[in-house]
């Protein structure tokens, strides 16, 4: 009889992080997947990171997760986005080799102790008197465990559409898991339908690059993982391949318009909701009809580089129409399709059925993570995966579960949004969702989360030491700069006046110069009295802290005042129907979401400050 502490169903980006995190926490884990060779598959575009997404990925990395390390090891192109816009909104993105990514991920999973991969399809969940026991495989065999993490992506009730063809599948070439869907339907889980799409893949040798704009890596080749950009390790380097940029034109748009009725998006076959930020080319042409051209990024898929991913051309028109509109685009005049674009409809669970630990409210010790919770993106999936994996292991080890707050991590923003508000379209992270955006930066996810991860048992002591070293160096450099004084009448001061139009009235420190908006670390490095930096990367981190210090102080003040109320826990045994003065609507909404704290309750739509006051009084009165 196979027996484990944690079963993770699904070997995608959520499943890998969940299984690996739980195994790092020293409990025994089975990762059940249909095919070992599909573990770590990038089903959509071969890139990790981007605005908002790199923020999530770096937080996973700060908890010693896999996604950033593996992306760094399989990088074809590395870029820093928004480099000119201020550190809080800068982001790293890496184009990866799909094959290298997958095989490195499989190596990491295979090498992890406490972690076994089981091939097969799960057809049912075993419950004994409401207590989770394990799962039944489609061949009838059973695998037992105390906790189960479900990360089945688009495989639940997945249905692919290409033109008028449609068939059941989890991803092109992979089966959907329909039996499992029936179990959840029977158990009263609230299911909804979403859709997403993917563009056709193009044979590289059929593209004429001679006239296309090329986009390579940034000069300083940024990395995603703290191991590589702050803790001194170097990633595995594979050869770099640039992206290229081309554009659609009016001829392209005409073909798409003329054939609109053949697209299941427009002829009524698909009525589920797709993401507004990732529209199909049919949608772009329809909604932004006044635009003469839409940008297309031709992204390399693999190191061997036979296939190209034309980012921006998601479609589910019939294959022959796809080919004819592609061939109107500059550089693609003679292109060949290796795999047609398609739309996929899939089932998701209303995430309001989860606690913030991603445990289902209906069945204890059952966790959901990733796309089945209505999100989209590898980073969003990985971030939920690591939280579900950590919490499944916490449940096994009988220690308190954890999820970061909104002012602590983008992960906290995402989970809170999901479990409080639910989703109406596939949920993707945007930095504008985070009210603490100036605090939740790429440069400090480790400072925010690594020590917590160590306490939870998923971060090694060596890594904690690396973090401590980094923090100590920041402090030292900060102190050093504070001790360098600049007198108003000095030579340095006259340079400052000449270069930055800055007139010193009284003695300033070198550090305080960094508060000036137009003076960066590089600028003060050029000043005579600067001395010798401990490390200029560290120096830049000091400069970032100085830039935001005033803002963060102001926010801290707000946060600490608000937190007093926000962080008041609402006991699980609360019965909203018994609270006098609550409207029926409020009772219903609160009972549905079952918020963990007053803060979370206040974010439910229609929950007024008066209702929060009532709850606060009720909680205190009953000393719950």
């Amino acid at each position: 009889m196979k027996k484990f502490d944690v079963i993770v169903i699904g070997g995608g980006h959520a499943g890998c992080e969940a299984a690996h995190a739980a195994a790092r926490a020293n409990v025994s884990v089975a990762l059940i997947t249909m095919k070992h060779e599909s573990i770590g598959q990038m089903s959509c575009n071969p890139a990790v990171g981007g605005i908002g997404k790199s923020h999530l990925a770096k937080e996973v990395d700060a908890l010693d997760g896999l996604i950033c390390k593996i992306a760094d090891h399989s990088a074809l192109q590395r870029r820093k986005l928004n480099a000119s816009k201020g550190p809080a909104v800068q982001a790293t993105r890496i184009q990866t080799c799909r094959d290298t990514y997958k095989s490195k991920m499989q190596q990491a999973i295979d090498a992890q102790k406490n972690l076994s991969v089981v091939e097969g399809m799960v057809s049912n969940i075993i419950l004994d008197k409401e207590i989770l026991q394990g799962v039944v495989m489609s061949d009838g065999s059973k695998v037992f465990a105390k906790t189960v993490v479900l990360t089945t992506g688009t495989f639940l009730g997945g249905k692919i559409h290409i033109g008028d063809k449609s068939f059941s599948a989890g991803r092109l070439g992979d089966n959907a898991s329909n039996e499992l869907e029936n179990f959840f339907k029977k158990y009263g889980f609230s299911l909804g339908r979403l859709k997403t799409g993917t563009p056709p893949r193009i044979l590289k040798s059929s593209i004429d690059y001679s006239l296309l704009e090329e986009q390579g890596s940034d000069k300083n080749k940024p990395c995603l993982s703290y191991m590589h950009d702050h803790y001194g390790q170097t990633p595995n380097i594979i050869s770099e391949i640039p992206c290229h940029i081309t554009y659609t034109n009016n001829e392209t748009h005409k073909i798409i318009k003329d054939n609109q009725s053949l697209s299941p998006l427009y002829n009524g076959v698909i009525d589920s909701v797709g993401p507004r930020y990732c529209p199909s080319i049919e949608d772009k042409v329809e909604r932004f009809y006044d635009k003469d051209a839409h940008q297309v990024f031709l992204e390399p898929e693999t190191l061997s580089d036979k296939e190209i991913y034309p980012n921006g051309l998601s479609t589910c028109l019939p294959e022959d129409v796809q080919l004819s509109f592609l061939r109107t685009i500059k550089g693609l005049e003679n292109c060949e399709i290796t795999q047609p674009g398609y739309a996929i409809e899939y089932s998701y669970f209303d995430p309001r059925g989860l606690t913030k630990y991603l445990e289902t409210k209906k069945i204890k010790n059952l966790f959901f993570a990733g796309q089945i919770n209505g999100t989209t993106g590898y980073e969003e999936a990985a971030a939920q995966g690591i939280i579900a994996g950590i919490n499944a292991s916490c449940s096994v080890r009988n220690i308190e579960m954890w999820c970061p707050n909104r002012d602590q991590a983008y992960i906290g923003v995402m989970v809170d949004d999901l479990v409080t508000l639910g989703v109406t379209e596939p949920y993707r992270m945007f930095t504008s969702r985070a009210e603490h955006r100036l605090r939740l930066r790429e440069d400090n996810a480790d400072e925010r989360l690594t020590a917590i991860g160590h306490k939870l048992g998923v971060v090694s002591s060596e890594r904690l030491l690396s973090l401590k070293n980094k923090i100590q160096k920041i402090k030292a450099e900060s102190k050093r700069l504070e001790e360098i004084k600049i007198l108003p009448s000095s030579k340095v001061s006259s340079i400052l006046e000449k270069k930055f139009n800055l007139k010193l009235k009284n003695v300033q420190t070198m550090k305080s110069l960094l508060k000036m908006s137009d003076i960066g670390y590089k600028d003060i490095q050029g000043l005579e009295s600067f001395g010798k930096t401990i490390n200029s990367d560290i120096g830049h981190l000091v400069a970032i802290q100085e830039r935001y210090e005033g803002y963060l102080k102001r926010q801290d003040q707000e946060v600490s005042n608000i937190l007093k109320t926000q962080n008041i826990k609402i006991p699980e045994q609360i019965i909203y129907n018994e609270i006098k003065g609550l409207s029926n609507e409020a009772k219903e909404k609160l009972s549905e979401v079952m918020p963990h704290t007053l803060g979370q309750a206040s974010r439910i739509s229609g929950i007024t400050p008066a209702i929060i006051s009532l709850l606060r009084i009720y909680i205190k009165k009953h000393s719950l």
Partner: protein, 445 residues
């Protein structure tokens, strides 16, 4: 901007009375005593203090009493200011305190603090629930109902402008690789400055007290001969004592002040609206339009035998009437049931003024909708003022950051400015922003 955890409120009933009491609770009480009075106050002793304007003109002679924590109603440091009961004086004093030291208390907040600091027992606490709920509803109702139509329209326009600017900047930040909108430093500078100008003007009008109706106003409009005047007479005749019935500025708009459900209400009976070129009639229509702008509620009267037609719809759209109910009069002619239904969130009443059918229903709804007397127009005005001022503060900061080319900080200030405006008019800061971005810009690399 800091969070003010010291709270203040007028705690006596609104209206002219001999004495009014303002209460303040929280840490800043000692600061207020120091700054306003100059000397220390012995707890629980009455002291006479003169309150002056900045120009040193005497505002009022007041009695102040200091209660030292924890021996006070709320358990915190408290100050009680007894002034003369003139609402203008009291609003002035409260405004001075709220400018620097405190924020306006939420309804029931003094009692809530008393309970949380163990100053009142469980039995009393039971009653707080109802109190908070009731007064919260009153407060938000007062805030909305006392608003002049013009004021809410201006706020809505401001929100639209802030949202457009935010969408522009956030699209640049979140989707740098898509076809980004024009987001030059100069554009932002102009946009923020335009917001500041409009907001400053609005704050001035708040300071002058012209954004709130002293008494809420119900304006009756409709096409000619649908029964507007009969409806006005019906509401005046039975519902309460007619306080005054003076002709309006022209023969075409009549102002009546009545008491409805214990509240003063002004009812304006207007000239019929229709397309015309007659200059005298046009004048009357202009006046009608003005009274639509200042109304807290519009009753749009329709002749039921003619029905609510496209011309009616056009009139409502043309005059940008937001807050209105439709009254289908003359059901005695059509035989329709005297019912009330909601059609896309607008109340539709079937009535007959001649046979008195369905009119009780309308009156009942009107009195439910009237301003409750425990929230004064003064407090409603102060609430709006607080939000607008913090919005202005954020806009000035945004301008600074924009001059320094710190786009992410401009974005942060604009977010906070948006939050303040939404606090007045409602809306969802995050979702509205994403909606705007995705409808205005083609995103999707």
């Amino acid at each position: 901007m800091t969070v003010k955890e010291t709270i203040a409120a007028i705690s006596t009933a609104h209206g002219k009375s001999a004495i009014g009491v303002i209460r303040v609770s929280g840490k800043n009480v000692l600061k207020i005593i120091k700054d306003f009075i100059g000397s220390e106050l012995k707890p629980r002793f009455a002291t006479n203090v003169k309150i002056r304007e900045k120009s040193n003109a005497l505002i009022d002679d007041v009695i102040v009493i200091y209660y030292k924590a924890p021996s006070s109603y709320t358990g915190e440091d408290m100050l009680e200011i007894q002034s003369h009961g003139n609402p203008i004086t009291m609003d002035f004093i409260l405004e001075q305190i709220c400018d620097v030291y405190a924020r306006l208390s939420k309804p029931g907040e003094f009692t809530e603090r008393a309970f949380l600091n163990n100053k009142i027992d469980l039995v009393q606490a039971e009653a707080i629930a109802d109190l908070i709920n009731a007064s919260h509803i009153s407060a938000s109702k007062a805030a909305m109902i006392t608003l002049q139509g013009n004021f809410s329209k201006n706020i809505e326009l401001l929100i639209e402008e802030v949202l457009a600017l935010r969408a522009n900047i956030e699209a640049c930040i979140n989707f740098p690789e898509d076809d980004s909108p024009d987001n030059s430093n100069k554009n932002n500078f102009n946009a923020i400055n335009s917001l500041i100008a409009k907001l400053s003007k609005l704050i001035k009008s708040v300071d002058n007290g012209i954004v709130v109706n002293k008494t809420p106003t119900i304006t009756i409009i409709g096409k000619p001969n649908v029964g507007k005047s009969s409806l006005a007479n019906l509401l005046l005749g039975e519902q309460g004592s007619i306080v005054s019935s003076t002709p309006g500025t022209t023969r075409d708009a009549l102002h009546h002040e009545v008491v409805l459900a214990k509240n003063n209400i002004t009812i304006i009976d207007t000239a019929g609206l229709r397309k015309t070129s007659d200059s005298i009639e046009l004048q009357g229509i202009e006046i009608t339009k003005k009274s639509i702008n200042t109304a807290s509620l519009v009753l749009y009267v329709v002749d039921d035998s003619l029905g609510f037609d496209t011309e009616d719809k056009a009139l409502i759209a043309e005059n940008k009437i937001n807050n209105y109910w439709v009254v289908n009069n003359k059901i005695d002619l059509t035989g329709a049931d005297p019912t009330m239904i909601k059609i896309s969130n607008v109340n539709h009443f079937n009535i007959s003024t001649i046979q008195n059918l369905g009119t009780d229903n309308l009156k009942k709804k009107l009195s439910e909708n009237s301003v409750p007397d425990d929230e004064t127009t003064g407090t409603a005005r102060l609430r709006h003022r607080e939000h607008l001022k913090s919005c202005l503060e954020n806009l000035y900061m945004a301008l600074d950051c924009n001059n320094n080319l710190q786009l992410e900080l401009v974005a942060e200030e604009l977010r906070l400015a948006h939050v303040s405006l939404v606090a007045i008019m409602g809306g969802d800061v995050n979702e509205d922003l994403l909606d705007k971005i995705f409808s205005d810009f083609c995103i999707g690399k």
